[in-house]
Assembly symmetry: C2
Homo-oligomer: 277 residues x 2
Amino acid sequence: MDEFDELSITNAVLDRLRGTPDPRLQEVMTSAVRHLHDFVRDVRPTFDEWISAIRFLTRVGQISDDVRQEFILLSDTLGVSMLVDAINHPPSSGVTDTTVLGPFYNEHPPERAQDSDISDGAAGEPLRVDVEIRSADSKLLPNALVDVWQSDSEGFYDAQRPELAEPRLRARFRSDKGAHVRFRTIMPTAYPIPHDGPVGDLLKLTGRHPWRPAHLHFLVAASGYETLVTHLFVRGDKYLESDAVFGVKNSLIHGFTDECDTEGTRCLKYTFKLRPV
Amino acid sequence: MDEFDELSITNAVLDRLRGTPDPRLQEVMTSAVRHLHDFVRDVRPTFDEWISAIRFLTRVGQISDDVRQEFILLSDTLGVSMLVDAINHPPSSGVTDTTVLGPFYNEHPPERAQDSDISDGAAGEPLRVDVEIRSADSKLLPNALVDVWQSDSEGFYDAQRPELAEPRLRARFRSDKGAHVRFRTIMPTAYPIPHDGPVGDLLKLTGRHPWRPAHLHFLVAASGYETLVTHLFVRGDKYLESDAVFGVKNSLIHGFTDECDTEGTRCLKYTFKLRPV
């Protein structure tokens, strides 16, 4: 029978994929095998290095659960998430820039009424938010779904606080007739991504810090438009230049003081512009 | 600040790896990021495809436990394990060929005396094994450690039978003064790799079967020599040409009848030859 050497084994594996019924899956797996084998031939791992990689990936899966997604963290910290974002959302004039979803999104956040306080009494510097939802050609979009989530004043998401019985600093709104969503909250703070697991170990071993600059997350969905996944970052944050997940874009940095009614208070006014599908 | 597009993000990530203290880790991670980003740019995944990949890898980690290692199965079925083997053990005259370790190796198998029956009464066709351990230049190697493990007549390893209180068809021997290990067992059978998890799903989606041809596993270690990890396959098995993990080499296929004392019985005589370090 045919035997394989370190070059010919790649074609042997690709031959085995020829019977894949779905052409897209065949394309993806063919490319995955080619690039994975090229990587292995490039670094020429010892058996011990290979088993270390197996153990690392296994830990990444095993530490993941309903509220922690370590493979998304790995994708984020290796720039893969922002690369997928760049491929699917190239910059486009008149459309709000996108960034990573991150590991803390919850598909079913609590629905809240306009003008709610989503901090529910959590300590922190008060912030008023007033965002407007428009199409790329500036048409107002009432009844758009607007999900928001953020860290608290100590840098934790609700999912990282097992003592909380209910979601906090996380809400779903609908834009009103004027296409606005207004709510009260507290200022988000810079925070380290969860770094007590294998991804944190890898950051440490590669001399990297786990910090993200302060931001509010938004997911905005309206019928007939591409769903917008983005953040708004706080100007002046010391981690803007070295975000652990490469998520910062200039257009998403905001003063959080502009246009405030009262000096010394914090406010965020922003217009999101959605791309038609 | 600098912004990234789908090409420049790769250098941004590589820049972040510049502070890696260990040069080998920096080399491996730099190559990993380059090849991973090239793969992503090649297939241009949608957000949904990316999240499917995240969920797949998470399942691979989560189904793994003390007795099941799904990331090794993934590596095996994508030809990565045999590629790592080919890199580390190129064919060499006078040395026994190597093949994959597989996911069922146990680092602490029960120590058994020469001439033991390692089937402990399991049903199956009786087999007598007599292997000899030598160096590449044919020097006898007494007191070599010889681990053996195999499937039962229904195609299962002991680790796949939770009803077993003790290891079965798995043992550690020491070669005797004449450098031999002799034991009794049953014939191994062809078997499907565990395919009730994500790797099985992927095999099915790519039109592949999960079967491996019948074989005995051996791990042979002697001081001053490279540890040999290999199998001996049964000639005539219908899966020799399409082993799900690409592990078959011609030199490792054996009749399991040659040199038997009694016609109609099954026996395996083989000389393993180890490479000096």
